[in-house]
């Protein structure tokens, strides 16, 4: 039976000594067959299963997760949410997600702590100013909020920011997307898991896919897993950094490379940073969590790897930039750092598409910025799996765009990973 979270439920449980809460989702044994199976229990995979059950009425769906749900990039990213991309296709995809973020807590009956505190992107050179203004205008033409701030206006919105002109890369202005912000990453995985489970989706953890079997016509028919054979005619791959490992098993080579991406947090302090601040130019990404830690995103290492750790000089580079922008942060100690494995495409746009193998669908290539797209990605990927054709929003995000030359080149637009 559904366990509704509300002020009334909290009061009732408080009076009962908090002993009546039940587990938020089941831990079922895998069945022998499903209508559809999602590989990967992160936000994108769990969200896809939720939409398959809620929107497309597939009764018999499973999510297979090699480790524990939300233990990959969903639990490792820096939770920045924004939709201020340059190209029309990207804006449509990311703004679709942002609109879903705004109501997600209510839809899932789970507080994902979405906080539209504003995302500020800094310009440090004349080139930065030109390209960021171009982004602002492109966004406004597409109906996405974004505005240009002078250094003085940026300082007023974000008081700890150093806008003096005596630093190595002075702030020459900034773009501000007020609807952007952050959310609680773990709650996104848990909220989708609970909502999907309530609709009958089996969430199976500690279950690694070791093979994909196809019938005589080439259509997928079953999965070999560490917990036995599972029959299904529809498979959705949401395996982020490990997508190539799974797709190589059915002989599909993708334009993906997996890199370690690091993040770190400081010791918790009182509220000091009111918004998200990003600088592509000097590579700094920082926000403050509701716990008080500064959450800092560093860069990717230069080489492909599956180790979930990176080199210290990558973090040092980011911290030097942040200390220059926020001199008051110099005395803070860093509490912990970690890495995740991100799958990067040549144009830095994702692939959400059918594959050459009938019945096999893939949602990958989110690179360093997939968290922000979670609700939108999940919704259009579920559509693609259920109807065997892409939703209009993800139709441009094919594998074939690399063959046909129809790239969505956000890599060139941002000049760095984004």
């Amino acid at each position: 039976m559904k366990q509704v979270f509300s002020a009334f439920a909290l009061l009732k449980q408080g009076l009962a000594g908090q002993r009546g809460w039940r587990e938020q989702w089941r831990s079922p044994e895998p069945k022998s067959a499903y209508d559809a199976v999602i590989i990967g229990g992160g936000g994108h995979g769990l969200g896809t299963a939720y939409h398959l059950a809620s929107e497309h009425r597939l009764a018999n769906v499973a999510v297979l997760e090699k480790g524990w749900i939300g233990g990959g990039n969903t639990g490792r990213n820096t939770t920045i949410i924004r939709s201020n991309y340059l190209f029309d296709e990207s804006t449509a995809l990311y703004d679709h997600a942002l609109k879903l973020w705004e109501g997600l807590s209510q839809v899932l009956n789970y507080n994902v702590m979405f906080s539209a505190r504003g995302v500020m992107m800094l310009a440090h050179t004349v080139h930065d100013v030109q390209i960021i203004k171009r982004h602002v205008h492109a966004n406004r033409c597409n109906g996405v909020d974004n505005e240009w701030l002078t250094p003085k206006e940026a300082k007023a919105f974000c008081p700890p920011l150093n806008v003096e002109d005596n630093i190595r890369y002075p702030v020459m202005g900034a773009a501000l997307q007020r609807r952007g912000g952050t959310a609680r990453h773990d709650a996104v995985a848990w909220g989708y898991a609970r909502a999907a489970d309530t609709l009958g989706v089996d969430i199976i953890e500690n279950c690694e896919v070791t093979g994909i079997l196809r019938d005589a016509a080439g259509h997928v028919e079953a999965l070999e897993t560490s917990r036995g054979l599972i029959r299904t005619r529809k498979i959705g791959v949401c395996a982020a950094g490990h997508t190539s490992v799974i797709m190589n098993r059915v002989g599909v080579r993708l334009p993906l490379e997996s890199f370690p991406l690091q993040a770190l947090v400081s010791e918790p302090i009182k509220p000091v940073l009111p918004c998200v601040v990003m600088s592509n130019g000097i590579h700094a990404y920082v926000s403050q969590s509701d716990k008080g830690e500064l959450v800092i995103g560093a860069g990717t290492d230069a080489y492909t790897s599956y180790t979930q750790r990176g080199a210290l000089h990558v973090n040092t580079h980011t911290l030097e930039a942040i200390c220059e922008l926020f001199p008051t942060f110099r005395r803070l100690q860093m509490l912990r750092n970690w890495g995740g494995i991100v799958d990067v495409t040549p144009d830095r746009s994702p692939i959400i598409a059918k594959t050459p193998v009938p019945g096999l669908y893939v949602n990958c290539g989110w690179g360093t910025g997939g968290f922000k797209a979670t609700p939108g990605s999940a919704q259009v990927f579920a559509w693609t799996i259920a109807k065997d054709e892409p939703h209009p929003i993800n139709a441009p995000f094919t594998i074939e765009r690399f063959r046909d030359g129809t790239l969505i080149d956000e890599a060139a637009a941002a000049a760095v990973a984004h």
Binding site: V245, N248, R253, L254, P255, A302, T304, R403, G405
Partner: protein
């Protein structure tokens, strides 16, 4: 930071090098006849190996030369480095996803 053995200069810190991506990817021989799919495979598709990976590095801040390396992407340990034009060392574990 990795320590990388340049076949010309010896062991040096990673910051002296630039990564050059997957090694041994051959450009289509008959360029005029190659299909769009063959070009896409050459330009963009990668094995993205989880395990021993053959890759190029360039000793940019040293001798400036390209060379190849075998590195285990599950541990980041180098198995071997070898010069451009030399065959992939035979004693290394076979490439492919475990």
């Amino acid at each position: 930071m990795l320590l990388i053995e340049c076949p010309y200069c010896g062991v040096r810190p990673e910051l002296e090098f630039v990564y050059g991506g997957e090694a041994h990817i051959a450009r289509p021989a008959a360029e005029a006849k190659a299909t769009d799919a063959q070009w896409a495979d050459y330009l963009y598709a990668r094995t993205n190996t989880r395990g021993v990976h053959a890759e190029r590095w360039r000793h940019t801040r040293g001798c400036g030369r390209f060379f190849n390396a075998l590195r285990d992407t599950m541990t980041d340990q180098f198995v071997a480095t070898y010069r451009i034009g030399e065959a992939r060392p035979a004693d290394a574990a076979p490439e492919g996803n475990p």
